[in-house]
Amino acid sequence: MAAIRDGQCDTVLMTYGSDLLSRQGRTLGSKGHFGRSSRVPGPAQYEAPYGNVLIGAYAMAAQRHMHEYGTTPEQLAEIAVAVREHAALNPDALYRDPITVDDVVSSRMIADPLHKLDCCVISDGGGAVIMTTAERARDLRQPPAFVLGTGGAQTHWQISEMPDFTATGAAAAGAEAFRQARVTPADIDTVQLYDSFTITVLLLLEDLGLCPKGEGGRFVASGALRLGGKLPLNTDGGGLSCTHPGMRGIFLLIEAVRQLRGQAGPAQVPGASLALACGSGGWLSCIGTTILGRDAP
């Protein structure tokens, strides 16, 4: 975006594709971080002997959030239920059959307190986003969505270094994006949040200021995230039910743009004019937030 703004280029193609499912199969990210009997260098050496897996990192954040705020497995499950409801409207989604909170909490435990249905799917997939100047976009075939604000922040890399297991860099990344966009969390019509696991969504909602810190469980249990609710989430079916080829950022932007163009079909949020996309990388380590608008700033 800075390159376009500074006139270094006019148009940028951002693209992503992965054959994770075909290549690796459905291991739920639990093949372990390291090769067999390897010697692990760098900061990871302090975690290597203990057999943690990707899901375990997120599970430790969930466990701490439950401890500090009384968040329940059923509240986390509601996130998976809402996203599945949206996936049912998307013919391209991997899983479309409705699920209940009970289905989620009675699915197999993978890393306490996260169940199988608290985890995103493994899929193949890809996408592309084209960015250009507002002037160039004026006579394109598709109506543009406008980037109103962006922010990024990193708090740690190794999960054992996470300064606060209940808080992410979305607090800083969100504040910066909202400042640039000159809008507030209450103005947002729909959110596309990286749902690697249900807890990821809960933490991002709180840290972005879309609900008060510690109130995420009650907020999601109110039905706010469903179509027709206050803040429809992942209207394409998200990583939890639609697609997750290893990284999901591009799909967050694509669905946000679809909503702002009014092209989301049966999953359309009526009159959506402001959408927020927020991705989380590493082990809740680094966060990128983009606020998009239907109308030119």
Partner: protein, 155 residues
């Protein structure tokens, strides 16, 4: 803190830990980390403290993360509490596949810094946040030991 040189002093679970340690991914010590792993081989757990500003840190680094002075090693008391944890019920990687379910935790030393570990010597269901734990180490080879933690004695 006690030093279990591969011996089984805490029952079946600790025995599994000792038996599998040689087959686990192990650290590749470097200039900064070598004293930590060497200390663990002797039965000690170390953390770093900055002589300039007093900041305590883990994992070990060449510089103090607060003021960039050169940190010094300090022996930990070996007492701590479980800050957060999970029970790993699925890990296809050997040797963990056969150990599951097992506890991965982040323990907070009573001196402040936190480290990842396994909590052994009790059933996974008995582990909880705030649980008092004590460190022990297992020697893998010359100059390389690995710290683990288990429930602190209740006396």
């Amino acid at each position: 803190m006690s030093h279990d040189a591969g011996g089984d002093t805490t029952g079946e679970i600790a025995g599994d830990v000792a038996a599998s340690l040689g087959r686990r991914p192990l650290p590749l010590p470097d200039n900064v980390s070598a004293p930590y792993w060497e200390a663990a081989a002797r039965g000690e757990v170390l953390y770093q403290e900055c002589p300039a500003c007093g900041h305590r840190q883990f994992y070990p680094r060449a510089l103090c993360t607060a003021c960039a002075a050169e940190p010094e090693w300090r022996p930990a008391s070996g007492r701590g509490t479980v800050h957060t944890f999970t029970v790993i019920r699925q890990n296809w990687a050997e040797p963990f596949r056969d150990l599951a379910p097992y506890v991965v935790a982040v323990v907070e030393l009573e001196e402040g810094p936190r480290m990842m570990t396994n909590v052994t010597g009790c059933a996974p269901e008995d582990v909880h946040i705030g649980m008092p734990v004590e460190a022990y180490t297992i020697a893998v080879e010359d100059g390389l030991g690995v710290p683990f933690w288990r429930p602190a004695p209740t006396d």
